[in-house]
Symmetry: C2
Amino acid sequence: MENIFSDEYFMRKALQEAQVAFDRDEIPVGALIVSQNKIIAKTHNLTETLTDVTAHAEMQAITSAANYLGGKYLKDCTLYVTLEPCVMCAGALYWSQISRIVIGASDEKRGFRSQLVKLHPKTQITEGVLAKESTELIQKFFKDKR
Amino acid sequence: MENIFSDEYFMRKALQEAQVAFDRDEIPVGALIVSQNKIIAKTHNLTETLTDVTAHAEMQAITSAANYLGGKYLKDCTLYVTLEPCVMCAGALYWSQISRIVIGASDEKRGFRSQLVKLHPKTQITEGVLAKESTELIQKFFKDKR
């Protein structure tokens, strides 16, 4: 039997969160944290709503998952995020020692890799999962703004 | 008449916050955000208390100051922080476009400068203000832990 809990399965749920952000007039980025195939955090960008530059989807997901787990370190957890994390979020992910990060679209301008920021040695990366869908949503957002 | 609102004046208040963190068994880092000589945020590291790697003094100060100002951008604001910000906090400070950062002690291992992370072009840095006091408090914390 096929495992329904594929990276694409979870990234599609993260994209649904990005769509919620879009509908709230926020830059559409969504994130999930999954532990043992269970979604323990589901968040989207809220920087405008909260008037807070730190309210990226990933930051909220880290806080929320740690709260669920009762511990600071996100061992055996995977972050699914529709856009490559920025420097701030990569710095937070470093501290969290998260096991794995699955990225949708790359962010060549503001992504952590363009700034050569390193993740924790314990953290594995998978990228390009539903990248097209994520990119299209972000492009639609900025096109509508013009 | 001498201006009492010197960098040392505010850094001493940030050090008082670091002492509060120390007394709570947190790595002793304190921060203030000042706008027009008024303290609009006063925070200390709470990562253990909140079980949250994102609860650095600077992150809380950014959120708190933006809440006070009713806007995301920390224009004409100065952050006083007793220890050089990490990559996460520097990334957040970038997004905030804060005008100025005054640093106490340098953090050669985890500070943002060792990772070559850039702040916003609008942000000026002053460093080494009461660095000795900050370093001594941190060293005392880790010595007591051993």
